[in-house]
Amino acid sequence: MKKLLASIALGLERELGWTYPPLVVLLSTVPATASVLTIVMVYWVGASAAGEVHTGWIAFLIVGASLFTHLSSYIWSPLSAVSEGKTSYTYPLVFIAHSSLSYIAGRVIASFIESSLTALLALGTSYTAINLILGVSPPLSFTPVNLALFALTMVVGLSAALGLGLMLAAYAIFVTRLEWGLPVYISGMLMIFSEAIFPVSALPQPLQIVAEAMPFTHIIRASRAALIGPLDRYPTEFFLATVLGLAWLLTGLFIYLYAEELGRRRGYIDMRVA
């Protein structure tokens, strides 16, 4: 636990410490809000032209796009913790201290905390901006109960985040060049499969199975059920998000530990990254 807490503290310092922390939050919130507003505006223009604007769809997009920016931002941290850590030699040192798992988990949690804050700000800002600019009020409920259920979903999402984080960290052990493109590809995949901006039912049948097996799909659905409704969908989606999140966590753990052993055998743990 001591190792994990130290890693979370260091992760937060690393995430927020490169300039003034409030500025970091602002700089992270602006693009997240902008992407939510862009998606809503695209819908608004198209739907207005067709004469069929539904505020329910706007609420759907606000929640999905806000959470999508949350998911896509924290997948950077495990890759950075390992591949950048190999360049700065921090990852081999953490490995020698027998703390690589706690370290990666701590860095993912720190990034998760930071991006959750950003996602919440983006959600609130987008909602307000749409109210002001478009003059519509998307049917989002911000009662204490709704917000509590939403927060609970985000917490449950942490296990899926850790699972994905460990898988990416496993990949990063074998990376010999800084591959900053990878998180972009993965977030692109998440956009398609996680029901962030369109329903899974719009996908071809085989891809729907993939989407349903992803915890992120259910995290986003549970969040929508919490904030938009209907609330009776929440327990099922929450349950699926929890179970699939744990399954991803265990898979990530297995893959990472195997990668670490293989990396040690092949000499990749402390291989410099160009």
Binding site: K2, K3, L5, A6, S7, A9, L10, E13, R14, G17, W18, T87, S88, Y89, T90, P92, L93, V94, F95, I96, A97, H98, S99, S102, Y103, R264, R265, G267, I269, D270
Partner: protein, 327 residues
């Protein structure tokens, strides 16, 4: 008590195009409280050996124990009792202060908070960077980063500490302080200091025993004094004028075991340090050089250094060997 044991350690790196034997049947033992040096040119296998002993890399064959724990099967136990400082200039988290960097690693080793805080102050005082503790890492000079790196290796009070070229890039005075620290840590805390270096002066000054390594093989292990005294052959420094002629490999000269050449391209002079088969063969060497068009201004007999020991074993100096490895 024996703290480090290597038995027939071998490591082979294989890729599709080539096979490199980085360590070849290496065996040795290092005692508690001993400063043990691993001396060899770049590419000799020093870092590979340290990577295995610090559990970063698995050996291809052989066995290694640290304080009785096998580095392959008991890696967790080994990790809890070792410290390691690499030669890298950039070690740590850039946007985090030196103090927080040290604190973070102390927590990974489970050091109690109060103990960690006082240990950080103590190490910063010894290594003279107290005034740098609250600066972010990227603001520190290379020398201070190196000191921080050494402090980090000692933060968990390890029984065995591995240092890989620890004084690289340090000024003379800082390097001296670090060497004194190594001696003190070994004597007063009974730590085993395992030092990989290609700095002969450093090995001679600080190490109780030195292992000379080349191309993955340990060529000799003994105290610096014994290694030098084993070299019964004379070491001679020749001051020459090359006149543009190429000296080539001194080992090709009749009567020479091996040697090094330092040419000053501006003046065309060269200092040739050679180990002779015997004193009587000096005349023959001088004639050989004259024959090549190289005139010898003066010569003097020198006390042997550890590099001379290396030359007598390999036939070449460190820099010549490094060029071989690069080729």
């Amino acid at each position: 008590m024996t703290n480090v044991v290597a038995e027939s350690l071998t490591r082979v790196f294989e890729s599709k195009s080539r096979r490199v034997l980085a360590l070849d049947n290496v065996s040795f033992e290092v005692e508690e409280g001993e400063v043990f040096g691993l001396l060899g040119p770049n590419g000799a296998g020093k870092t590979t050996l340290i990577r295995i002993l610090t559990t970063l890399l698995l050996p291809s064959s052989g066995r290694a124990l640290v304080c009785g724990h096998n580095v392959v099967t008991e890696a967790k136990k080994v990790r809890s009792i070792i410290g390691f400082s690499s030669s890298s200039e950039r070690v740590g988290f850039d946007f985090v202060t030196a103090r927080r960097n040290l604190w973070f690693f102390s927590q990974l080793y489970g050091v109690r908070r109060e103990e960690a805080a006082s240990k950080i102050e103590e190490l910063a005082t010894i290594l003279e960077f107290q005034d740098q503790l609250d600066k972010k890492l990227y603001m520190l000079t290379t020398g201070y980063k190196q000191r921080l790196n050494i402090a980090r290796a000692l933060i968990n009070d390890p029984r065995v500490v591995f240092f890989d070229e620890p004084t690289n890039g340090m000024d003379v005075f800082s390097a001296k302080k670090v060497r004194d620290l190594f001696k003190r840590e070994a004597k007063t805390h009974s730590r085993t200091i395992f030092l990989a270096t290609h700095n002969m002066f450093e090995a001679e000054e600080v190490c109780d025993r030195v292992a000379v390594i080349d191309r993955g093989r340990i060529l000799a292990i003994d105290t610096p004094e014994n290694l030098k005294s084993m070299l019964s052959k004379p070491v001679v420094l020749l001051e020459t004028d090359t006149g543009g002629a190429s000296i080539g490999d001194p080992a090709q000269l009749a009567g020479v075991v091996g040697g090094t050449v330092k040419v000053d391209p501006e003046t065309g002079t060269a200092r040739i340090r050679v180990i002779l088969e015997s004193e009587e063969l000096l005349e023959r060497v001088l004639n050989g050089l004259e024959y090549r068009g190289i005139s010898v201004h003066s010569y003097e007999r020198l006390e042997p250094t550890l590099e001379d020991v290396f030359i007598s074993l390999v036939g070449k100096g460190f820099s010549e060997r490094e060029r071989d490895v690069e080729a």
